[in-house]
């Protein structure tokens, strides 16, 4: 049951990533890779956070971001195209969209404690994404060139 749930969510993430990639104008031949990247990132999130409650949500988002960007850079080198193509749509599932909703919701319903909890969580998640992106982009391009040969 957990496995089926995981599978559904990962497929949804993959298809959703491709759909938003299409809006951003990602060329059609890269759709499978976009889907794979978005799905992989969300799989990390679902397994580590939703199922195992590993560490904390921002930490898990950081790990998921690292996976997304490692894969994006790898595919970018392999397919000889700009990394932006994979990155933008792949990162989208991790962006705290639901966090915005909950923060706004608690703010206007005057539950300020919950609002600040949610709001700070969204900010922490955003910072985790920032750190993930910055860290993986420090790895020199030559590493990915070597890795893509395998």
């Amino acid at each position: 049951m957990i496995l089926l749930n995981l599978l559904i969510k990962v497929i949804a993430a993959a298809v959703g990533t491709i759909a938003f990639g299409a809006i951003f104008g990602v060329p059609r031949q890269y759709y499978p890779y976009c889907g794979l990247i978005g799905g992989a990132g969300w799989a990390v999130y679902v397994i580590l956070w939703e199922n195992l409650r590993f560490w904390s949500e921002p930490a898990v988002v950081f790990l998921a971001t690292v996976i997304v960007i490692l894969l994006s850079r790898l595919f970018a080198v392999r397919k000889r195209c700009p990394v932006t193509i994979f990155l933008i749509s792949g990162i989208l599932p991790l962006v705290p969209g639901a966090g915005i909703y909950w923060t706004a919701y608690y703010l206007v319903t005057n539950k300020l404690a919950e609002a600040s909890t949610r709001g700070f969580l969204a900010v922490k998640v955003a910072i985790a994404i920032v750190l993930g992106i910055v860290v993986v982009f420090e790895i020199p391009q030559s590493v990915f060139r070597r890795a893509s040969k395998f």
Binding site: I23, F24, V26, C81, P82, I88, I129
Partner: protein, 256 residues
């Protein structure tokens, strides 16, 4: 070969890249590469998030200066990929200047996805993300519909508004629709619907590019893009919050 032509072509390549969502360092690098390949050594490109400054000139090379203002538009990443490919091929020596100019002209008019397709993709993406956040089947179906309405609004009306108003109204629109649907007896959950529907509005491109620009040391452009992203986030939240607040007033604070 005329130095001026080289710089014009380089500027045009940079223009297409910047307009369609490339990061600053890629724009600068591409302009540099094209110029170096054709032997313009004194070239100097300074790129901001909405403009390119390109100059050249020293003892041996003629003076050249051009500033181009490039307003922020919707990104079409296939154009970034195409210019990137072109710049690779230029370095391999496949083209002369007039051929490059022709290729760039073609890339510039390369059609994006049709509007209908974009609207459909927004619906599909929203409902997938709703499912991903744990929404039920009813939620997903509803989200698909709301996603279609939302993106039709974004393409038809949204472009006429300022970015702030566009996203406030967008946030209001999805909240009103979700509220109405949540009141129907199909057991739809408002939070899941809204979480999914928000995604087409979320500024993923500005956010990601902003971070990368700052990481590259392009602080001015990075900051501008980050502020752009934060502004959009806040506008969406304001729109959502506004409608929920009115709803609470009308229903006397009943839980949703």
């Amino acid at each position: 070969m005329d130095q001026r032509e080289v710089l014009d072509v380089a500027m045009e390549a940079g223009h297409i890249l910047l307009e369609n969502g490339a990061e600053i360092s890629r724009v600068e690098e591409t302009i540099d590469r094209i110029c170096r390949h054709f032997g313009v050594e004194s070239e100097n490109a300074f790129v901001l998030s909405n403009g390119i400054f390109l100059t050249a000139g020293n003892e041996t090379e003629k003076r050249f200066a051009r500033v181009k203002h490039i307003p922020v538009k919707g990104a079409q990443l296939h154009r970034v990929a195409a210019v990137n490919q072109l710049s690779r091929e230029i370095e391999e020596g496949k083209y002369d200047i007039s051929q490059i100019r022709e290729r760039l002209r073609q890339i510039k008019v390369q059609p994006g996805k049709r509007k209908g397709t974009q609207v459909f993709m927004a619906g599909l993406g929203s409902s997938c993300f709703c499912l991903m956040f744990g929404g039920s089947l009813q939620d997903c179906i509803a989200t698909f519909g709301i996603g279609l309405v939302l993106y039709t609004y974004v393409l038809m009306l949204g472009k006429h508004f300022s970015k702030i108003v566009e996203n406030i109204v967008g946030g209001m629109l999805i909240t009103v629709l979700s509220l109405l649907l949540a009141r129907l007896p199909f057991g739809m959950d408002m939070s899941h619907m809204i979480s999914g529907c928000i995604m087409p509005l979320v500024p993923g491109l500005a956010f990601t590019n902003g971070i990368r620009d700052i990481a590259d040391g392009d602080y001015i452009s990075g900051t501008v893009r980050m502020i752009d992203a934060i502004l959009v986030f806040l506008s969406i939240a304001a729109g959502v919050g506004f409608v929920i607040s009115i709803y609470h007033q009308l229903t006397g604070g009943a839980m949703l």
